[in-house]
Every structure is written in structure tokens, then in C-alpha cells.
Symmetry: C2
Subunit: 440 residues, 2 copies
């Protein structure tokens, strides 16, 4: 079994069509980079500079970046540059020394969560945060079974890859992992009822196999499942089922967190449920590696009594300085409100475009996380190739988006939170043009 | 089973002896930090500034830092500050876009390795690098068995914690993990012969249980095993045994790498053996999270054909800029030579101190990685409490070191590579004073 095709991944069949300079760079990559690396787009993009919502290639072409969610404050935000430079010039040690900055930031971060979520452990990546969360959940529950959605992605450590089905059939799930459907209101009625039935079956099966139920792990925006913001009564139902079986609910906020959904700091808030553990990552440092596991104190007790956890860089000074600047900037610049407002503008604009094309069946989203579903005309049959054509057309016209979902047919739009009304208008205009061009 | 005492860890029994300000900080930590955090020293150190080989507390006390190996170039080295600031102000994207900096650095990094080691994959932490290396090794060998030394430490993901016995008895090893003795020439004659016998037994046992042999994972300086630089004919023998059984040899250079041993870039070079995979971490970015797995191309082929590996921050611009500055600075400032020369000065100075005290039985080291073994007088019986007294006495006298080894009785000395002859003389003088004071 070979590696499945990555959504919006460059493949070697398009190598000969690239300009010589690009071919040379791709060749150099092949000669030094290890296994598994892959580029975006049918025609890969070379980048050399970023600023605000724009990326630039060496020729000076300006791309509107509607995809990179790490640089949530915009590329090269001065608040982060300043904070990191100052910290790097002052101190870079770790959490085994006493330092007030770590505590000041932790207190501010936890204040953005419901009161029950009152402890934080720092890691460097979302993968590490999910890996640690699972270790903690196992110690707490005494069980090992994990439930995720059918095309979930939670990270790349061995532990986490084993419950990340979107890595494809050649990356096997663990024997202790069960999948349930992701919500897909376009194709299923009564999504919450359907998933209640599915999760009950998964729980029963995990118990029957002797794994018991350790954790339900869910990304509240279901990013790799195709961006599914609705229904919002779902997660409280799933969490209740898992808790009744002795498991915990881990909210993976690596994608949906830090204000992206426009409805508050954390994506799970839209679902009116308080998780037992929450993992954070990508936008947390606007380009500096920093991530975290937030949890209820009592959930961590068993793990803490048995095991030491020390992450050399996790919670070290520079990552904390970057995260601190990000938190402050989201507040100061009102970026959660901006995500909601510009997100609404985008959603209504995309709805009009969808209306005009038989192969666009739905625009959906929460804040600045949007998905546009591409199908065969007047049907719900996914059309991956057409979605790729849209993504590629936009790329040729200097707008960066990507695609997602189990069938790769959902155009995924996830711009920096500083996207302006004018940026949104430009994105909509380019998307409308692209849709008109690729029409079948 | 509860958490084992950490070597040189602060414990709550000493809380009431701390000044009020320190008690308050410790209390704030307990109220926000998750499970498993622990401070160094009987009297924890608060730090607020670092420069060169020094750390400073808020009162302005200057500590000679002879322990922190992340800041290999010294605290707050201007070359790293400058490179990171420039990069943060320019671009912070990931490896799915084409960029020359990533390729330039990868080519330079690989040039420091034997020619067989010709590919690199970036992660953020040494734990992630070891986790990935194991996934790659499993795909290549088709086996799962792992062999490590008795008190090895390789990281904190679930996968890697399962072969990190130094995390203590409450953190169980995986069923697929076997341990062999670390070299300990003070207590064993014919170390290489002994370990050949042990690894053959481990291999046979792994095969008998159906795991087969996937990897031997060894830190060439045996840091958590008590700093064991000798014998240097050992690793080639162990690697040969494992390869004959179908496994690979993974050199964990997170501790020994980047010139620390003074004998070249990589610790395995002292053993005249070329590994199949090598993992890098801690000092790679002088305080910016960056790590990597270096490997022989053919070892990664099977994994690469089956699995995608994407680490959002791994290989992203800022970590690569930091790592690039570190590599260049080690070359420009001749830090490998410095590690060898100052290391030799320290080793001969410590040997004299050892000679003068019946409870100090051996000083050993390679470059700027040294261990001094503390025992009951005129014996080889480890004395952990006395080693802790030495470490604490030095801390009270503004010199930072720590302890290591399965019995916690080896004083571990690991200063930044920019340590000068004067710094070394000061460290030796303070150590001699401490030894005179704690004498039993």
C-alpha cells in the first residue's frame, strides 16, 4: 500500500512543466530532505517574504494569503518581532528555573478558558500537546480506547498518528482506535442523532475489546473532515456519552482556537460544552513553535503523581514571549470581533457565488474558517479534481487557499485574523472569477 | 507506585525554608502549571537575565552557568538574536512552500556528517526527532523491538517515553523494549565484552517474543546513565550486533551533538562508527525550538513511500534561521576546538580535586561534557546525598551544575561551548571549595 495522494499536493507528473529555477529547487529538496515531504499546488509556490496578509515570491509577486493560520496576526507582526527580539536578547532558559513571565502568561491564558480548565502544560507542537493529553487521559481513566472522526487529523507522533485517519490507509490506526462519522449536514439528516448512535456503538466495541474508553478527541471545526461548523448541539452530546463510559473529552483547538471561529477564544465554546482537556498550537506564537495542553486539575492528578514531564523548549522563554505577544495583540486589535465580522462578509459573499454555480453546493464556516464544497453539477457527489482546479486557478491569480475533506473537494479558506473588508472583497472577486473560469 | 525523586529536583519538604518571594512564585506555579513540572535545586533559582556564560537573578547575582547545554553559544548570542529578528521580520512559513534558506542550511548541516547520512527531516524537539526516527526504523526493518541502556533518556512522547527508563518505574517500558547496561568502567572490567553478551541476549529475547529487532538507540555520551565517555570501541560492536539481527543503530545526539564532546561535530564520531539514523535537538537553535532526524536515504524509503510527514513548525523559517546562525557561529568561533581545549583543562583540574578527596572517585568527560563520581569514602558505593550537597553548595556559591546517573551521584557539568580558560579556572576553584566544605 502506498502513500495516498495529499489534498492539494504537488506531484512529480507536473515536474517537467515547471520553470527551470523551480525544477532546480525541487531537485535540491529531493537530494537533502528526508521521507514524507510534499509541496503545495500543481505549480509550487516559492516564497521569500511575508507582510500582513501577503506573501511575496522572489520576483516580487504579491499573493493574498487566505490560508496560513499560523500567522494569525498577519505575517511578521511587529508586536511578535519586538517581543521575541527582546526576550532572545534577555534570557532563554527553561521551566526548571523560577520565572515570573511564565506565570504571568499562564494566568492570562487560563483566564480565556472556562474556570474548570485551570492548569496548563507547555509543549512545542500540537502533536506533542495531543500526545501528552493522551498520556494524561490514560493515567486518569485507566483505559486506552480513543474515538475520533473518520478523517480526523491530530498530529504526527507515533501515538497521535495512530488516531489520525486522514494520514491515509498506509498509516494504520491503532487497535484501540474507533472512528465515527464527522458531521455532514449536506448528506445526513439528524446529524446529532446519527452520531449518538455511532458513538454508542464505538464505545460498546471498545469495551467489548477490553480497551475501555479513554478519550473522545475532536477538532471542533472538523477541519480535515471538510470544515463542518454545524450542528453546534453535537459536541455536548458526544462528550456526555464518552464521560458516561468513563472517558474524557479532549478538544483539539490547534486549528479552531485563538479566536479563529469569531465566537470567542475557543472553538468548543460554539458548542456550549466544557472539555476535560484542550490542546493548542499553530497560531499560538505567530511563527514561533509553541503549543500547550490545558486541563482540569483533577484530570492531571494521577499522571502528575506518577510521571515527570519536562519539555526543554516547552514553556521556555522565547515561545512564552511570542505567545504572550499574540494573546495581547488578539485582545488589543479586537481580532476575535474582526474574525466574526469579516467571516460573515465572506460567508455571505461565497453564498452568492455558490448560488451562481451548479458545481458549488455550499459555503459554510465560522469566523475566518470557511469551506466551499465542490461537487458534480446539481448533486452532492464530491468533485475533487474541480476543487483542485479552483485552488490552482486562484494560485495562478495570486490568491492562496487549499482544499480539505475526505474527498478533497472542499476549498479550505483560513486567512490571517487581520483580514480586512477590502481583503475579503478581493478574495471574493478572485474566487468568483476562478469559478467562472473552471465552470464545467 | 509514585513518581521517583528527580535527580537535583526541588521537593516540597524544603518549601518552608524558602524566602517569601520564592514561596509565592512556587505557589503560583502550583496553581497554574499542569502535572509533572519540577524545579532544580534544594533552593530553586529564579532567573531574569542571561549573557554569555552567566545567568542573573532579579537581585543581580551573577551565576556561572556550567550546566545549560541549549545555549551552546552562550546566553543571548548576538548572531542568533540578529538572525532570528531578521527572519521574523521577513518570513515565517513552512516546508510546503519552496524556499532556498531551508535547502542552503540542510546542505551545510549534512556536510558535517559522514557521506552516508544524506537526508534530514526537521522536527521541533529531540522527543519528536526520536519519535519520527522510530517510525522510520519500524517501516524499514519491519520489526518493533528497541534496545536502550538501563537508565537511558530519549524523550517524552508516548512512543519515546516507552524506551526512556530514566523516567522511573512508574513510567513503564513498552513490552517491545529491552535494556542493557550502560558502560561503567569503574565497576566493570571488559565493558565491551560484557555489553556484547548483554545485547546478544536482548536480541535473542526480542526475537523469541516475536518483536524482532528494530533499533538500538544510544546517546553516545550516556548522559543520564552518569556520563560515560569510555570505552570508545563499544558502539561499533553494539551496532554490528543489531545490524546482524536486521535492526538499525539510531544515535541520539541531542545531548552529545553540535561539538560538545570536542572531538568533531557528533559524539558518535569518537566511537568511529556511522549510525543509520541520528537525532539532533537542544543546542541546535541556541534557545529557539528546532530539532532534526538525519538518516541514510535508503532507511527512509519505505516510510516515505507509505506515509506523509508534515511538522508545521519543523523546518519553518525561524527555527532554520536560528540553526543556521548556530552552525555558522560554531565554525567561526572555533567552538569545537574550544570545547576540546577547555574540556581538557577542566578534566585535569577535576582529576586533581578528585585525588584530594576520598569521596570523589573519578572525573571523566569528553570535551565540555563532564561527570564527577561521588561515592562513600574509598569505595565505588554511590553517594547521592553527598553529590546533591556538592551541587547545592555550588548553587549557593553562584555556580550552576546538576547531577546524573542511575544513582544520582554523578555531578554533571555541561557549560556553554564558549566557556573560557578563566571560566574554567573559576569553576574548578569553586568546586574545590565546595568539596572541602562538604567533606565527610
Amino acid at each position: 500500500m502506498t502513500r495516498p495522494e495529499m489534498v492539494n499536493g504537488f506531484t512529480s507528473e507536473h515536474l517537467s512543466a515547471q520553470p527551470q529555477h523551480i525544477r532546480e529547487l525541487i531537485d535540491r529538496r529531493a537530494k537533502v530532505l528526508g521521507p514524507g515531504y510534499q509541496l503545495f499546488y500543481t505549480n509550487p509556490v516559492e516564497v521569500s517574504r511575508g507582510s500582513g496578509v501577503h506573501l511575496y515570491d522572489p520576483a516580487g509577486n504579491e499573493y493574498l494569503d487566505a490560508y496560513n493560520n499560523v500567522v494569525s496576526l498577519g505575517h511578521c507582526h511587529p508586536a511578535v518581532v519586538e517581543a521575541v527580539t527582546r526576550q532572545l536578547s534577555t534570557l532563554t532558559t527553561n521551566t526548571r528555573y523560577l520565572q515570573t513571565d511564565l506565570l504571568d502568561f499562564s494566568e492570562r491564558l487560563l483566564a480565556t478558558f472556562p474556570a474548570e480548565l485551570d492548569r496548563v502544560t507547555y509543549t512545542c507542537t500540537g502533536s506533542e500537546a495531543n500526545d501528552l493529553a493522551l498520556r494524561i487521559a490514560r493515567a486518569h481513566t485507566g483505559n486506552t480506547g480513543v474515538i475520533v472522526t473518520r478523517n480526523a487529523y491530530h498530529g504526527v507522533t507515533a501515538e497521535v498518528a495512530a488516531f489520525s485517519p486522514s494520514l491515509g490507509p498506509a498509516s494504520p490506526l491503532g487497535p484501540h482506535v474507533r472512528t465515527i462519522s464527522a458531521p455532514d449536514p449536506l448528506r445526513h439528516h439528524n446529524v446529532t442523532d446519527l452520531l449518538r448512535i455511532e458513538i454508542r456503538a464505538a464505545i460498546e466495541d471498545l469495551q467489548r475489546h477490553g480497551f475501555g474508553v479513554c478519550a473522545l478527541v475532536v477538532d471542533s471545526i472538523f477541519s480535515s473532515d471538510g470544515v463542518q461548523p454545524f450542528p453546534t448541539d453535537l459536541l455536548s452530546v458526544l462528550a456526555a456519552e464518552v464521560r458516561a463510559a468513563g472517558g474524557v473529552y479532549l478538544a483539539d483547538e490547534v486549528q479552531a482556537g485563538f479566536g479563529r471561529t469569531g465566537a470567542g477564544w475557543w472553538g468548543f465554546g460554539r458548542h456550549d460544552v466544557v472539555p476535560d482537556l484542550v490542546t493548542l498550537g499553530k497560531p499560538m506564537g505567530n511563527g514561533i513553535p509553541v503549543a500547550a495542553t490545558v486541563l482540569r486539575n483533577e484530570i492531571g492528578r494521577e499522571f502528575g503523581q506518577k510521571v515527570r514531564y519536562f519539555n526543554t523548549f516547552g514553556g521556555s522563554n522565547v515561545p512564552i514571549a511570542a505567545a504572550s505577544a499574540v494573546l495581547r495583540t488578539i485582545e488589543r486589535e479586537g481580532l476575535i470581533d474582526n474574525a466574526r465580522e469579516i467571516g460573515a462578509q465572506l460567508l455571505s459573499g461565497f453564498a452568492e457565488i455558490v448560488e451562481a454555480h451548479s458545481f458549488l453546493v455550499e459555503a459554510r464556516g465560522a469566523g475566518l474558517f470557511l469551506g466551499i464544497e465542490v461537487t458534480a453539477p446539481d448533486s452532492t457527489e464530491p468533485d475533487r479534481a474541480l476543487a483542485q482546479s479552483l485552488v490552482d486557478d486562484l494560485r495562478e491569480n495570486l490568491v492562496l487557499v487549499s482544499a480539505s475533506g475526505p474527498h478533497g473537494n472542499v476549498v479550505k479558506i483560513r486567512p490571517p485574523l487581520v483580514f480586512s473588508a477590502a481583503d475579503a472583497a478581493l478574495l471574493l472577486a478572485r474566487f468568483a472569477d476562478a469559478a467562472a473560469r473552471v465552470r464545467r
